[in-house]
Amino acid sequence: MGSRATKNHHEIDGVFNPRSADGKPPVVARVVPARFASLCKHSMFAAHNLRGAVEVLQDPCSVFQGIRSEGDPIQDGWCYSGRPSLLWHADGNTTPFPVGQVMVVFVTTDLVPYEWGLESEDPDIECAPLGAGDGRFSRQIWQRT
């Protein structure tokens, strides 16, 4: 399992299946190269941390559904949360992933990751972003035991 690139999308294999109870069979997520190129213009920190985001997509410790509030046009989609092994910096160097933070990855219903980054961990739900225990998402669909 790995990833493949075409002009229109970059496929990431082995992603936790958000439509099944145990995440299996794994699914394919698709990064849009044009959007990634736009990101690279402004934040190589965020761009490099796609590596950590991929780790989280493939092995999340929690997954939530419903990433927008009522009235917003995008009701569905998922937020994957986890702790990747490393934090990447803009120059390509790495440091240990910081304590008290999680990596969140926001994914559309078409399994397109469109935003990822560090957030403070929720005090009530292990390895979940702040607010997850306070109605930020519609529901939690996965928690690693």
């Binding site: 294999d13 190269p33 190129a37 402004h42 920190f45 509030s69 046009p73 469109y114 957030e119």
Partner: protein, 149 residues
């Protein structure tokens, strides 16, 4: 599980000059219907204000260095028209600041039950707006000129 992203980085480098200096600025992300804006390329964490605004705060000192603003397609067309008499650089800045403040105004209307929370949140929307004029802009990054999907 190993994942090779080298070809994606190579593709981005060829399209966007990813190996050069980073530029302050932002872009419209149609998959998320959001603007992502960065003033400087430093390590940051996301600090969610509400379902529409997330501030990007530097890991070292907590200063706001950018933001994600959602629901861009729901903004009134008047936002896009603001600043038509200004230079392209100014249009970019005015458009972004206007988008931030229109989003606040629509999310926290003064006569709504959210008014109390809205007042408390206004300062955080202002933080996002303030980070914009410190950067340089070019017309190709005007958020309303949507990129092809």
């Amino acid at each position: 599980m190993a994942t090779n992203l080298d070809d994606l980085f190579a593709m981005a480098e060829s399209e966007a000059g990813a190996s050069g200096e980073r530029e302050a600025g932002g872009y419209y992300n149609p998959e998320g219907d959001c603007i992502q804006f960065y003033n400087v390329d430093v390590p940051y964490r996301r600090d969610r204000v509400d379902e529409l605004l997330t501030l990007y705060k530097a890991l070292d000192d907590g200063r706001v260095i950018g933001f994600q603003l959602k629901g861009i397609s729901q903004l009134p067309p008047e936002v896009e028209a603001i600043g038509v008499d200004h230079t392209p650089d100014e249009v970019m800045a005015i458009g972004l600041v206007s988008a931030v403040m229109f989003t606040f105004a629509s999310r926290y209307p003064t006569k709504a039950v959210h008014v109390e929370r809205g007042h408390a949140t206004l300062g955080r929307y202002m933080e996002a707006a303030r980070v914009v004029p410190q950067a340089s802009f070019t017309r190709d990054r005007v958020p309303f000129e949507h990129e092809p999907v």
